[in-house]
C-alpha cells in the first residue's frame, strides 16, 4: 500500500517534469523565457556545489535561526507570564489584538531605517513575525494546564516557582513546540522578503541579482527550488520532532502574520 | 419481493456471512436477530448496495441489485451521523426527494407531511442537533417515509436511545408500516424487540453466519407494549428466539 503510494508519488513528480520538459521542447513554452526543465534541474544540482550560493543560503538560514531563537527567548516567557497572570492578560489583550494584524512585511521599510545593517533588520522582522505564534500558543498552553495538578503540588508545600517548573512548563511544552513549528515556517518568508527588498546577503538577494541579469531564469528557478527544499526539510524535521516528543498533544491555533 | 441467494461476504480473510438464503414477501415486517458482530450490518449493507457481496446474489423484484436500488431507504443506528447537521430537519427530510423531480414546494409539503406522521411537525425549522436522540431517529424515519420506498431497511434503529423512547419508536414502526405497503427489514440484537415488532423473525448464528431459525410471529394487531408482551405466545416465541440466538438446541 505505502510502496504503491511512494511509487505513484514518484510517477507524479516524473510526469510533471517530463510534461514541462516536453512543453519546452515542443515550443509550447518559450525556452528563452522559461528554461527547459532539464536545464533548471542541472542548475539546481550545480548550485549545491556553488560556494557563493551556499554562503547566501547560509546567510538566510543564520538570520532565520537567530530570529527564531531570540523570539523564543522573548515570547515564551511573555506567554507564560500572560498565561499565569489573567489580569495582566486581560489588560493587555486589546493592545495585542491591535498589534497582531499588522502584517510583518509592512514593517520592512521602518526596520530598514532603524536597524542597520540589513542583516539586523532582517533578524528584527523575523523576531516580530515569530513572536505571535509563539506567544499565543504558549499562552493557550499555560491556560490549558490542569488546575488539579497545580493544587496537588501546592498542597505538598511547593512554592509557585516549583509549580511553574514542574507542572506548568512540562504540560505547556507541546504547545510551545507547535508555536516553534508555526514560527519557523514564517521565518523563511520574512527573510526572503527582506532580502528581496533590501538586498544584502541571502537567497532573496541572490534571486534579485540573478533576475536583473537577462537570461538567468534557470538560476532563479534553481534558487527557488532550493528554497522550497529547505522549507520542506525544515517542516519535515519539526513535524517529526514534535510528533515524537509529544504524541498526546492536540493542535492549537497559530497564524501567519 | 426481496430474494437473497447463497450470499457470502468476507472482509479480507475474515468470513462474516457464510451463505445466506432468504426471501421476503411484499409488505412483510421481517426482523433479523443475531449476536453482536455476526454480520447483521454487513447483510443490510449488502442489500442496500453499499457493499458488493463476495459471492451470491440479491434480487429485488427479480432484478439483481447493482448499486443502490432507488426504491429503498435505510434508517441507520447512528442518527447523529446519518442526519446532516448543516441542514434543518425539514431540509434533511426533503433532501432525497430532489432526485424525484419534485418542485421545491412539493418537496417541502411532502417533508412536512412525513414529519407529521412521526409527530414532529413542530421541529421542521430546527437543526437535528437541537433535538433529543429519539427525536432525531424519528426524523430519520420521516426521511425514509417521505421517500416512499418499497423497502425500508433499519439497522438497530433503536440501539442508542433510552428504554421509554425505544418503546415509542417501536410503536411508531408498527404504526407506519402499513402506510405505503412497505416491506420492512429491521435488524436488532434485542430478542424482545424482534418478536414484538416483527411478523417474522430470522435468527443468524455467529460469524460466519447462517440462518439458524425462521419463525413466523402470529401475534395479533394492534400490539401493545404491555398486553402483547404478556401473551403466552409472545413468551414462547421469545424463549425460542433466545435459544436460537444462544445456539442452544431447543
Amino acid at each position: 500500500m505505502t510502496v504503491r503510494k511512494v511509487l505513484r508519488g514518484a510517477i507524479g513528480v516524473a510526469g510533471f517534469l517530463l510534461v514541462a520538459e516536453a512543453a519546452g521542447r515542443l515550443g509550447l513554452i518559450d525556452p528563452t523565457i522559461l528554461p527547459l526543465t532539464s536545464t533548471v534541474l542541472g542548475r539546481t544540482i550545480g548550485l549545491a556545489a556553488d560556494g557563493d550560493f551556499l554562503s547566501e543560503v547560509g546567510a538566510t538560514l543564520l538570520a532565520c535561526f537567530a530570529g527564531l531563537l531570540i523570539a523564543i527567548v522573548l515570547a515564551v516567557p511573555a506567554g507564560v507570564a500572560l498565561g499565569t497572570l489573567p489580569k495582566v492578560e486581560r489588560a493587555t489583550r486589546p493592545l495585542l489584538e491591535f498589534l497582531r494584524p499588522i502584517p510583518s512585511l509592512a514593517l520592512i521599510p521602518l526596520a530598514l531605517f532603524v536597524f542597520i545593517p540589513t542583516h539586523n533588520a532582517k533578524i528584527a522582522l523575523i523576531v516580530y513575525a515569530c513572536t505571535w505564534p509563539l506567544l499565543i500558543n504558549t499562552m493557550y498552553g499555560v491556560r490549558d494546564v490542569d488546575p488539579l495538578a497545580k493544587e496537588t503540588l501546592r498542597s505538598f508545600g511547593f512554592g509557585s516557582l516549583a509549580v511553574l517548573w514542574r507542572v506548568t512548563m512540562p504540560s505547556t511544552a507541546p504547545f510551545i513546540a507547535t508555536g516553534i513549528r508555526l514560527a519557523a515556517s514564517v521565518t523563511l518568508i520574512v527573510a526572503v522578503s527582506v532580502e528581496l527588498v533590501a538586498g544584502g546577503e541571502g537567497i532573496g538577494a541572490f534571486l534579485t541579482h540573478m533576475s536583473t541579469g537577462a537570461g538567468n531564469m534557470d538560476f532563479v528557478l534553481a534558487g527557488t527550488i532550493w528554497a522550497g527544499a529547505i522549507g520542506l526539510v525544515a517542516n519535515f524535521l519539526l513535524t517529526g520532532a514534535e510528533r515524537r516528543l509529544f504524541r498526546w498533544h492536540q493542535e492549537r491555533v497559530g497564524g501567519t502574520s | 419481493m426481496l430474494e437473497i441467494n447463497h450470499l457470502r461476504h468476507s472482509y479480507g480473510s475474515h468470513e462474516v456471512l457464510g451463505g445466506i438464503d432468504l426471501k421476503v414477501d411484499e409488505g412483510q415486517l421481517l426482523c433479523i436477530v443475531g449476536p453482536s458482530g455476526c454480520g447483521k450490518s454487513t447483510l443490510l449493507r449488502s442489500i442496500a448496495g453499499l457493499l458488493k457481496p463476495t459471492q451470491g446474489e440479491i434480487l429485488i423484484n427479480g432484478v439483481p441489485v447493482a448499486g443502490t436500488p432507488d426504491n429503498l431507504a435505510v434508517v441507520f443506528q447512528d442518527y447523529s451521523r446519518s442526519l446532516f447537521p448543516w441542514m434543518s430537519v425539514a431540509d434533511n427530510v426533503a433532501l432525497p426527494l430532489r432526485r424525484k423531480g419534485m418542485s421545491g414546494a412539493r418537496r417541502r409539503t411532502s417533508a412536512l407531511e412525513a414529519l407529521e406522521q412521526v409527530g414532529l411537525e413542530g421541529a421542521a425549522a430546527k437543526y437535528p442537533w437541537q433535538l433529543s436522540g429519539g427525536m432525531q431517529q424519528r426524523v430519520a424515519i420521516a426521511r425514509a417515509l417521505a421517500y416512499r420506498p418499497a423497502f425500508m431497511l433499519m439497522d438497530e434503529p433503536f440501539g442508542s436511545v433510552d428504554a421509554q423512547t425505544r418503546e415509542d419508536l417501536e410503536d411508531l414502526v408498527l404504526q407506519v408500516r402499513g402506510v405505503h405497503g412497505m416491506t420492512i427489514v429491521l435488524i436488532t440484537h434485542d430478542i424482545d424487540e424482534s418478536v414484538y415488532v416483527g411478523d417474522r423473525v430470522v435468527v443468524l448464528s455467529k460469524a460466519p453466519s447462517r440462518i439458524v431459525g425462521d419463525l413466523s410471529v402470529g401475534l395479533p394487531y394492534p400490539r401493545d407494549q404491555i398486553a402483547t408482551r404478556q401473551l403466552p405466545e409472545f413468551v414462547r416465541l421469545r424463549a425460542d428466539v433466545g435459544r436460537l440466538v444462544r445456539g442452544v438446541p431447543g
Partner: protein, 274 residues
C-alpha cells in the same frame, strides 16, 4: 416588558465593560506620544503626527470620493483589486483542486509530493520569477498572491474532503443523491470546517503577499507608496502606511471571522451538543 427592562441594564453594563476594558489603548497612545516627543527619535514620530499624515495624505479628499484623496485612490484601488482577485482565484483553485484530490486517493497519491513541495516554497521567492514572466503590472502581484494562498487552502480542503464521515456518504448513496447534490450538499458542507481553517490562514497571508509584491515590483499600490516614502526619508508616511495596513489586516480578519461564524453556525452548535 419586564424582560426588556431587565435586559437593558445588563446590555448597557456589558457594553460599558467592553469599552472600559479598552483603557489600555488611550493610555498606551498617550504614553507613546509623550515619550516620542520627549526623546525626539527620528524614526519614531509621535502618533499624532502619524494620524495627521494619515488623514492629510489619504482621507482629506472631497466627499464625492468618500473623502479619499487622489493619492489614496491611485494606490488603494490597485492594491485592493489585486488582493481581491488573487485571493478569490486562490480560493477557487485551492478548494476546487483540494476537494477533487481529497475525494480521490489515487489521484492524490500521484500529486501529493508536488503539493507538499509547492507549499514549502516561500511564496516571496517567486516574485522574481513572476516579475520576469509577467513583467511589471497587475498580473505579477496577483500571481504571487494566488501561488501563496493556494497551498494552505488546498491542503486543508484535501483533508476536509478526504475524511468525510462514511455514514454521510452512505446516506447520500442510499437515497440516490445525484453527483452534484452529493458534492454540494454533503461533501462540501462536511468539509467546510476544514476548508474554512485554510481560508482563515489565507486571509492574512494574502495581505502579506500583496505587500511584498508591491514592495518589490510595482508602480502603484500601498506597498509601493510605502517604499517611495522610505526612499524620500518620509518617516511619517511610512508609519501612516503601517497603520493603514494594520487596519486593513484587522478589518479583513474580522470580516472573515464574522462570515465564518455565520456559515459554520451549525458546526459550533453540533459540537456543543456532542
Amino acid at each position: 416588558m419586564t424582560a426588556v427592562s431587565a435586559q437593558r441594564p445588563g446590555v448597557a453594563r456589558r457594553v460599558a465593560g467592553r469599552i472600559l476594558s479598552l483603557w489600555i489603548m488611550p493610555v498606551a497612545l498617550v504614553l507613546w506620544e509623550v515619550v516620542t516627543r520627549w526623546i525626539q527619535a527620528v524614526y519614531f514620530p509621535p502618533p499624532s503626527t502619524v494620524l495627521v499624515r494619515l488623514h492629510e495624505l489619504w482621507f482629506s479628499g472631497s466627499w464625492r470620493t468618500f473623502f479619499l484623496t487622489d493619492d489614496a485612490i491611485g494606490n488603494f484601488l490597485p492594491s485592493f483589486t489585486r488582493l481581491a482577485i488573487g485571493w478569490v482565484l486562490g480560493c477557487a483553485v485551492g478548494v476546487g483542486v483540494g476537494v477533487a484530490l481529497g475525494r480521490s486517493t489515487r489521484l492524490s497519491a500521484y500529486v501529493d509530493p508536488l503539493v507538499h513541495f509547492g507549499r514549502s516554497i516561500p511564496p516571496p521567492t517567486l516574485v522574481p520569477v513572476f516579475l520576469v514572466l509577467f513583467q511589471f503590472g497587475g498580473s505579477m502581484q496577483v500571481a504571487t498572491i494566488v501561488f501563496g494562498v493556494v497551498w494552505p487552502i488546498m491542503i486543508n480542503a484535501i483533508e476536509g474532503a478526504r475524511y468525510v464521515d462514511r455514514q454521510y456518504l452512505d446516506t447520500a448513496q442510499v437515497f440516490s443523491l445525484s453527483r452534484l447534490d452529493r458534492l454540494r450538499r454533503v461533501i462540501l458542507p462536511a468539509a467546510a470546517p476544514k476548508i474554512f481553517a485554510g481560508l482563515r490562514i489565507s486571509v492574512s497571508l494574502s495581505l502579506i503577499l500583496m505587500i511584498i509584491s508591491e514592495l518589490v515590483g510595482s508602480t502603484d499600490g500601498i506597498g509601493h507608496r510605502m517604499l517611495q516614502a522610505q526612499g524620500l526619508f518620509d518617516i511619517p508616511t511610512t508609519w501612516a502606511a503601517i497603520v493603514l495596513l494594520g487596519l486593513m489586516g484587522f478589518l479583513l480578519n474580522t470580516t472573515f471571522l464574522l462570515v465564518e461564524r455565520r456559515i459554520l453556525a451549525w458546526h459550533r452548535g453540533a459540537r456543543r451538543t456532542d
